[in-house]
């Protein structure tokens, strides 16, 4: 069963697993099988070490102090920004804004890009498979300013219906905001085609890459998207740190998102002069250790190689699809032509929460519920699904353990 894993040159999953200390954990006396990576990934040793190193030898506030530690911390912080720039192949480190996560990145675009000058009836176009974080910010603008939220449909496999998507683009479309990879279904969205449609009509595009960056190499210049949002913690990096990439010209023209320290050049009670990019959007003391951990995580991911990671995960996804489909009564939800990292499913006659509790007793961690994508659940007419989601350290044997656990669930309920 593991030959496919071993046959990928240059990628040794056993060796990768050694880099993640938590994977040695026992849960209820069983080895941990962690399949909740779309919620958050585990952290490799280099990320943990970088944070430790920061607090043991570098901790200081950045951008202000003239003392040694402040310079060390500032350098580490800004070096991480350049790492993100290279990771996304952005043109300039000033295009990299640190946020709390993809959610805040999207809210920043809503507040500082879409909101100013928005007129009632202006539209934002999304898809039916967005995470709540790419739905609710637009609804807030709908309630406040009369924005119209348009939603492009998906088919029964979980693929975006591109013809319908294109029909929903109108002269009032202010922004196209779509997920790059669906967190609930695993669908890889054809963002290049979407961006081509948008370019032809001069409409800016925001991509929610929270679920994409761990599985797909992203090149923002090749994509030619205007904004790209992602979270560190789904990419083996710390929680509480995320990124908004934006094209310089757009970011320059946007008003700040929050006011405070670091985002100003000068302040009097009469007038404040805002700082340059990217600091204009980074008010207050930032999540310094998060940024440094993010830089270390990107180094780690790059050293393994996203190509090798994607190929390995593809093997495990295929194997998982095969062994899960063989479980009686199991239905895979989300069978898009191109998928990454996610196996959503339901089991006849068993609520996903019961599946989750029983699997937990086997040491298997999956997510059950609506995955912050309730419209997707409605589309497939289920209240919730069970979801196994993959990372670079998962193995075919773990998917075999999941399938065996699911047979046990079926036994408990059908006895």
């Amino acid at each position: 069963m593991t030959t496919a894993v071993q046959s990928r040159p240059g990628f040794d999953v056993r060796k990768v697993r050694e880099d993640f200390p938590i994977l040695k954990t026992q849960v209820h006396g069983k080895p941990l099988v962690y399949l909740d990576n779309a919620a958050t990934t585990q952290k490799p040793r280099p990320v943990i070490d970088a944070i430790l190193r920061y607090y043991e030898g570098q901790n200081s506030n950045i951008h202000r102090g003239v003392h040694h530690l402040s310079e060390v911390a500032t350098r580490a912080y800004e070096t991480a920004r350049v790492k993100v720039q290279r990771f996304l192949n952005a043109a300039d480190p000033r295009e990299i804004i640190f946020t709390r996560g993809a959610t805040e990145s999207i809210n920043l675009v809503a507040h500082s890009f879409v909101r100013p000058g928005l007129k009632a009836g202006d539209e934002v176009l999304i898809t039916h498979m967005e995470h709540h974080s790419n739905i609710v910010p637009w609804q807030l603008l709908r309630d406040e300013k009369g924005l119209v939220l348009k939603v492009a449909p998906i088919d029964d496999r979980g693929d975006l219906i591109l013809e319908e998507f294109e029909k929903l683009i109108s002269p009032r479309t202010k922004l196209i905001a779509v997920t790059h990879v669906s967190n609930a279904l695993g669908t890889v969205v054809p963002v290049k085609k979407i961006i081509a449609m948008a370019r032809a009509r001069s409409i800016p595009v925001l991509l929610d890459g929270a679920q994409a960056v761990p599985h797909v190499a992203v090149d923002v210049r090749e994509l030619d998207c205007d904004f790209y949002a992602f979270s560190g913690h789904k990419l083996y990096c710390p929680t509480g740190i995320g990124v908004l990439y934006g094209k310089t010209a757009l970011l320059e023209a946007m008003p700040p998102y929050q006011g405070g320290g670091d985002m100003i050049l000068s302040v009097t009670f009469e007038k404040t002069k805002f700082n340059h990019l990217p600091y204009k959007f980074e008010a207050g003391t930032p999540h310094i250790e998060g940024v440094i951990g993010l830089g270390a995580g990107l180094d780690y991911v790059t050293s393994i190689g996203l190509g090798a990671i994607a190929a390995h995960e593809h093997d495990v996804l295929e194997h998982g699809t095969k062994v899960l489909t063989a479980v009686p009564g199991l239905r895979i939800i989300g069978t898009a032509r191109e998928k990454a990292g996610v196996l959503s499913f339901d089991l006849e006659g068993v609520h996903p929460h019961d599946i989750g509790t029983i699997l937990d007793q086997e040491g298997i961690a999956i997510r059950t519920g609506h995955h912050c994508a309730q419209p997707v659940m409605d589309r497939f007419n289920v209240p919730a699904t069970a979801r196994a989601s993959l990372a670079m350290y998962n193995t075919n044997e773990e998917l075999d353990a999941l399938a065996a656990g699911l047979r046990k669930v079926a036994e408990v309920f059908r006895a």
Partner: protein, 146 residues
């Protein structure tokens, strides 16, 4: 840690597969809606009162085994009881599933004692009870476990 069998006991599975008192009373004396946003469980409880006592109860909902069996067993447990008796039973049930009280004397409801070992599932076991209590007390808002 309890063994799995303690949570998914035969009686729970039986009430999950064959829920008792399912449905809705057409002209209830009082009713309430309950919502567990965590797992998308929803329940409606309708009561027919005779004086101070619950003469009939019907409920409708879709949820996990724990929440469905809890609604089903609750409907059997409270039928014919007075408001004061039901409130006392609610308090004892709630104490048991949150691990703050004993299970002794709760009869069939004792099968839910294992729930206290699963903190995230306590809401599943208590949703029907909170909703029923809201109906009894005439609360208008949807009851949420969040």
């Amino acid at each position: 840690m309890h063994e799995l069998g303690d949570l998914y006991q035969e009686i729970i599975l039986d009430h999950y597969k064959k829920p008792r008192n399912a449905g809705l009373i057409e002209q209830p004396t009082c009713s309430a809606q309950g919502d567990n946003p965590l797992c998308g469980d929803k329940i409606a409880v309708t009561l027919k009162m005779k004086g101070d006592a619950v003469e009939d109860i019907r409920w409708k909902g879709a949820g996990c085994a724990i929440s469905t069996a809890s609604a089903s067993l609750m409907s059997e447990a409270i039928k014919g009881k007075s408001k004061a008796e039901i409130t006392a039973l609610f308090d004892r049930f709630h104490a048991m599933v949150t691990g703050k009280g004993p299970s002794e004397g709760l009869e069939k409801l004792e099968v839910f004692s294992g729930v206290s070992e699963y903190p995230v599932r306590v809401k599943c076991a208590s949703l029907a009870w909170h909703t029923m209590k809201a109906a009894l007390e005439g609360q208008k808002d949807v009851i949420s476990t969040e």
